[in-house]
């Protein structure tokens, strides 16, 4: 059985700063990491493989050449093969164009290797774009059933039994294969890379797929050309301006004063 995991390399969120002049993100000195939600998707695939070692895990990323590092990280953790979809023709893609490129790449890999993917796993969203759109859009393009916000899963009777997060709690669903699942944070972190796997990963060959390989595809649906949405502008969020801060260590009556304020201004009007 073959599982494809879609991953993205994203900036490390802790260090995000906005350039006040251009109103865009400062990219210098910001490290790149494997999107954390994609790590959970890979771990879910890895656990299926732990239960059934015959499963092969393929990691695919669309990005600039440096995204290769994220793919090697996936190989070091659990993936068997890595693929990088990269080409200038892909640049400027919004989620729809990205989903198209990824679906076409997935089809290409299947044809080229004579396999078909029973499962496609993705992180629920990328922590830069935060849209959570690419997974479901790929499912649509490939005509697959989709499950989102997955936590843990297992295979049984040719179905994927998966627990997912809902607005009220959790539910378990059974989905027919082939299907696409997006993952959110479960109660465990992705496995660490072992030294042996890391050494092998550093030497592994990552297949590069570009415009040449996707010649049969529709280039009008890629890149800027293929993007229905465009960013008009970016700006720093306007935060509320802070108000009054009191310190209980310095003013023992602080809480009493606050209670008075809340009552006077009808912010709290009843108590039990």
């Amino acid at each position: 059985m073959h599982i494809l995991v879609c991953v993205k390399q994203v900036p490390y969120a802790q260090n995000i700063a906005i350039d006040p002049v251009t109103n865009t993100l400062v990219r210098e000195g910001v490290e790149s990491i494997l999107n954390p939600f994609d790590g959970y998707a890979l771990e879910a695939a890895a656990r299926l493989k732990d239960a059934n070692p015959a499963i092969e895990i393929h990691a695919l990323s669309m990005g600039p050449p440096q995204a290769e590092a994220a793919l090697r990280e996936c190989l070091a953790m659990a993936a068997d093969k890595g693929y990088l979809a990269t080409d200038r023709a892909f640049a400027g893609s919004d989620t729809l164009a990205t989903s198209y490129i990824l679906s076409e790449t997935i089809r290409y890999i299947e044809r080229e290797q004579g396999i078909s993917f029973a499962l496609i796993f993705c992180g629920k969203q990328a922590i830069d774009g935060d849209t959570a759109q690419v997974g479901p859009q790929i499912a649509e393009l490939l005509g697959m059933a989709q499950v989102t916000n997955g936590l843990v899963c297992e295979l049984q009777d040719n179905k994927l039994f998966i627990w997912r997060e809902t607005d009220e709690g959790k539910e378990q669903v059974a989905v027919e294969l082939p299907c696409l699942a997006t993952f959110t944070k479960p109660g465990f972190e992705p496995r660490l890379a072992t030294v042996r796997r890391r050494t092998a990963a550093r030497r592994a060959e990552i297949s590069v797929i570009g415009a040449q390989e996707l010649q049969e595809s529709d280039f009008n649906r890629m890149g800027l050309k293929g993007s229905p949405t465009q960013v008009k502008r970016t700006f720093a969020p306007t935060l509320k301006a802070g108000g009054v801060v009191v310190d209980t260590a310095q003013d023992p009556a602080a809480v009493a004063h606050l209670a008075q304020l809340l009552v006077e201004r009808h912010i709290i009007s009843t108590v039990k």
Binding site: Q133, E140, T148, Q172, V245, D247, V255
Partner: protein, 343 residues
């Protein structure tokens, strides 16, 4: 779409019992404004086994038309079925703009529809307006709430966007009543490839964070699951719902259903009390619509104090019981029992 109208459609999601989920009703608010500016009608679309209740809720809120598809296949949300039915309607009527609530179902449905119709979708919008060229300008947070982006969909139709519950308030009731159009899906519905096996609700009572007027939320400063009991006792006193930051949820002290923030719920209470929450951008992204923020934290340098209307530097385990006492003495509590604060 070759000939889109000027109409704006809002998907009013329903619960299994046929009641309308609040977010769809909230979207009729910006929906009306934008439909007027676009020069078209405001249309609400409802899919349910029995659409009566939802239609009743929608009609007084200003929609010109309520479009319904009724039937057993629509009782429970199912991506394949809902996508097929909605795409059929959207292709038949060709609205200019389509809004959906960014609920967990909405976030399944919207990208699927946008992909099938090959149109642009902007998720989790916090503001909507028409820009100078008459296009919808969709404003949304990115990078965990650290930056805001304004997105346009210049050519593809419908222009689509999802909005989180609580971002907009319900529209005012109007005297005018729109018309109801009962539609139907004329083809075979797609097979259901997904079966629900088990459901676990982690929210004990009917928690509605998105509709709550007062929320008491706890972060890492609460320190433990037991610590949340102090917040619960205080919340009961003032009639508040319980929320939590991602830090508290990740630590396993409270279920995810209570999480507020970028990867949780967006809330718009009259009063948001943040206890032991540092105020990371991801959390602030969820409370942007709160009217008043009160922060209690031991760290005077916590980010939350920069945006709080009132801040108390102190130990929440001391402040909350004391505050409850002070409020009671001013508002006259009927209770003669002293509340026990156990940690």
């Amino acid at each position: 779409m070759d000939n889109p109208s000027r109409d704006l459609w809002v998907f009013v999601e329903t619960n299994q019992d046929g009641t309308a989920r609040k977010v769809g009703l909230e979207l009729l608010n910006p929906g009306r404004r934008l439909a007027d500016q676009q020069g078209g009608k405001l249309v609400a679309v409802v899919l349910a086994e029995d659409t009566t209740l939802a239609v009743k809720a929608v009609l007084p809120l200003g929609a010109d038309t309520v479009m319904t598809i009724t039937g057993a296949p629509y009782r429970q949300f199912n991506t394949e079925v809902y996508t097929a039915a909605l795409c059929y309607l959207l292709q038949k009527y060709q609205p200019q703009t389509f809004l959906l609530g960014a609920t967990s179902n909405g976030r399944e449905l919207a990208p699927r529809i946008s992909s099938r119709l090959q149109t642009g979708l902007t998720a989790d919008c916090t503001q909507l307006h028409l820009d100078e060229s008459g296009l919808v300008a969709w404003t949304r947070p990115a990078f965990g709430g650290n930056i805001m982006a304004e997105i346009l969909c210049p050519k593809h139709r419908p222009q689509m966007g999802t909005v989180r519950p609580g971002v907009f308030k319900l529209p005012a009731v109007t005297a005018k009543r729109g018309e109801v159009i009962a539609e139907s899906f004329p083809f075979d519905l797609p097979l259901n490839k997904l079966q629900v096996v088990q459901v676990i609700n982690e929210v004990s009572s009917l928690v509605d964070l998105e509709g709550a007027e007062i929320i008491v939320a706890g972060g890492r400063g609460v320190g433990s699951a037991q610590g949340f009991q102090v917040l619960r006792t205080f919340a009961e006193t003032i009639g508040a719902e319980i929320g939590a930051s991602r830090g508290a949820v990740d630590a396993g002290w409270i279920p995810h259903a209570h999480q507020v923030g970028q990867t949780g719920k967006s809330v718009s209470p009259r009063l948001y009390i943040a206890c032991g929450i540092s105020g990371a951008a991801q959390h602030l992204a969820g409370i942007g619509s709160a009217e008043i923020v009160l922060a209690i934290n031991q760290d005077p340098n916590a980010m939350i104090f920069k945006i709080a209307d009132y801040g108390i530097v102190g130990d929440l385990f001391e402040v909350l019981p004391l505050l409850a006492q002070e409020l009671r003495s001013r508002l006259g509590s009927a209770s003669s029992e002293t509340t026990q604060y156990h940690v």
